[in-house]
């Protein structure tokens, strides 16, 4: 018995992961200059969100239009640490209150707010990047899923949350840097993040973390929990009346998606060097769903390609036709939903994979046997069939 739900696209076999690793770790760094590679690194931070959405939306059927919230929480946590390090009394001595971030000084704050204090510590910051989004996702999940809020209603509420967080950040500019976000980030524990070496380092770190998340997501999707998510998407009540606490599973997967997004956000801050509310709100949150949809919402690897391709298209397209980009994005989303609902992964599986399989079969006739099947199928009796 192979663990392959018939309708699910293969979330990725070893080959797919290997190819992706080859592309990200070797081909792209060799083929692109540092500026372009840094852009790829930025696109990859969205892939974290898209991978989370595959679990949450593709498998579990929970559409969140507010993943930007978690991306932002991770990004801001990292930015707060970097900002504090960049605001030592020495380099801020022209401010009326030296030693606090510049935007606080501009907003007549005279001391560091209490919730900024712990961000002096790097280990606290790393913990916060993971725990704050997890806790917030859990609170949202407890409030929504235990009351059986789902589907469109949940999507709207998450969208509202994205709007709320943006408004909050912009409104509280003394504490958050407002609409400009947190800029002028320089060093990480004394290590200059703006050098070429740092950019390569963060790119590779980003790829490694992405593979960590992919591995975790792959494990979850292949475990019984992954099958339960698919079952819940289909017949929630049946799962409930099979003795499962449906809300707990939804909360879990929503938290996972949130944590993945936050890690992406933190890597964004490190690689791009700033964090701003434009990355948190409604539009970026919806874009993140589009990355996932284009890649194929049931394919973890597809999500990475989706994030890369859509962002690449966005960059090249908006360089030449800035005002047309939004229409193109909207059109793309409609096209994906109408014409190929399983995204790139679906196209790959129905058009490319069969040809590939045939080619491989011709070359390696011996290795194409399906994976070993446990005894169960061998000893199936001839049951009565209507």
């Amino acid at each position: 018995m192979t663990i392959k739900p018939a309708s699910l696209l293969p979330g990725g076999n070893l080959m797919g992961y290997a190819l992706l690793a080859l592309l990200l770790l070797l081909v792209l760094p060799l083929a692109l200059d540092l500026f372009r590679l840094n852009l790829i690194g930025k696109y990859l931070t969205y892939a974290f969100v898209a991978v989370g959405l595959v679990l949450c939306w593709g498998y579990g059927g929970i559409l969140s239009l507010g993943q930007g919230v978690f991306f932002g929480l991770g990004g801001y946590a990292m930015a707060m640490f970097l900002k504090l390090e960049a605001s030592d009394p020495e380099s801020t001595k022209i401010q009326s209150t030296p030693g606090i971030p510049d935007f606080m000084d501009w907003n007549q704050l005279t001391e560091l707010p209490w919730f900024w204090q712990p961000f002096h510590s790097f280990s606290f910051t790393l913990l916060a990047i993971v725990l704050v989004p997890a806790i917030i996702a859990m609170v949202i999940g407890l409030a929504m899923f235990t009351r059986r809020v789902g589907g469109v209603y949940f999507a709207i509420i998450t969208q509202a949350l994205a709007a709320i967080l943006t408004i909050l950040i912009i409104g509280q500019q003394g504490y958050t840097g407002g609409v400009n976000g947190m800029t002028d980030l320089r060093t990480l524990m004394g290590f200059d993040i703006r050098t070429d070496g740092a950019k390569y380092l963060f790119y590779y770190l980003c790829v490694l973390l992405l593979f960590g998340c992919l591995g975790l997501a792959h494990y979850i999707s292949k475990s019984k929990l992954g099958r339960l998510l698919v079952a819940m998407r289909d017949k929630e009540d049946r799962v409930r009346f099979s003795g499962y606490d449906v809300a707990a599973f939804k909360i879990f997967v929503f938290c996972m998606a949130g944590v993945f997004s936050a890690i992406g956000g933190a890597m964004f801050t490190l690689q791009v060097g700033f964090m701003s509310p434009t990355l948190v709100g409604i539009v970026p949150s919806i874009e993140m769903v589009i990355f996932c949809a284009v890649g194929g919402r049931l394919s973890l690897i597809g999500a990475v390609y989706g994030a890369l391709l859509v962002n690449f298209a966005k960059t090249s397209f908006s360089e030449s036709f800035p005002e047309l980009w939004l229409f193109a994005m909207g059109g793309l989303f409609i096209a994906v939903v109408m014409a190929f609902p399983n995204g790139l992964a679906g196209l790959y599986n129905s058009y490319v994979a069969p040809h590939l399989a045939r080619l491989i079969a011709r070359w390696l006739p011996a290795t194409t046997e399906p994976a070993a099947v446990p005894a169960i199928e061998a000893k199936q009796p001839q049951g009565a069939q209507p």
């Binding site: 339960l228 079952a231 009346f241 599973f249």
Partner: protein, 247 residues
């Protein structure tokens, strides 16, 4: 509220939707190893009674006790874990998964988030799935996507999904609706077999089928019990003939 030897004791159960009492001061008791059939005209409150027992609808008044344990206020999955399984009226299976996976998900192990993450498909699970699949005539179709099964097979699959939980009380809502004559007979035989060692509540319209399986019949009408007893007693009850069976 007395302690009883019954598997299920429903007493004074009332549920009101905006003043309309779908179930009105209902009391009945189900014995060990009994097959109880609930019949009645449309809107009599049959499905609502099952909804109340399994926690899908919360009772306005009254008590439901399962093996002397009050379950009226419990959450659905907790009620399931005490040993009550419920089959829905329309076959409710996971179309995207295979028959094997459908049964495996219903296997009562790894029901917490952590349990599901670390769940291993061991020999015991495979053996149990195999056993149940044989019982429900689907042993040859374990690899088939459940969506592609026939209507009757889907009904059996859902019965199998309950069976694998090994509940002490099994509730079936119209298990033979939409089945062919042959399938009906097989299902009747199946129900006889699986009711060994557990109690079963069945809602059914098909009187022939009811006669084949029922130990005791409860007739509901407008949320109240109209008649209760053996199939012959109920069949000849003038009130039942009046509102349900017809002359």
């Amino acid at each position: 509220m007395s302690n009883t030897d019954f598997v299920l004791a429903v007493e004074g159960l009332t549920v009101s939707f905006d003043g309309f009492k779908a179930v009105n001061d209902l009391s009945f008791y189900v014995d060990e190893n009994e097959i109880r059939v609930i019949i009645g005209p449309n809107g009599a409150g049959k499905t609502t009674v099952l909804d109340l027992i399994c926690g899908r609808t919360k009772a306005t008044e009254g008590s439901i006790r399962f093996r002397n344990r009050e379950i009226t206020r419990m959450r659905e999955h907790e009620i399931v874990r005490t040993g009550i399984g419920r089959k829905f009226q329309n076959p409710s299976i996971y179309g995207d998964l295979t028959v094997f996976e459908n049964l495996e998900i219903s296997y009562p192990k790894g029901r917490s988030v952590w349990g599901a993450l670390t769940f291993k498909r061991d020999a015991e699970v495979i053996k149990r799935v195999q056993e149940v699949a044989e019982m429900i005539f689907l042993a040859d179709l374990l690899d088939k996507q459940a969506e592609l099964l026939s209507h009757g097979q889907k009904q059996w699959l859902e019965i199998g999904m309950l069976l694998i939980q090994d509940p002490e009380l099994l509730m079936l809502d119209e298990p033979v609706a939409g089945m062919s004559v042959v399938e009906r007979e097989k299902t009747a035989e199946l129900l006889r077999r699986i009711s060994q060692g557990r109690s079963v509540i069945v809602i059914e319209h098909d009187m022939q089928f009811v006669a084949r399986i029922a130990d005791k019949v409860t007739v509901l009408h407008q949320g109240k019990i109209l008649s209760e007893g053996s199939i012959d007693k109920v069949k000849n009850d003038p009130k039942v003939i009046e509102v349900y069976l017809g002359h």
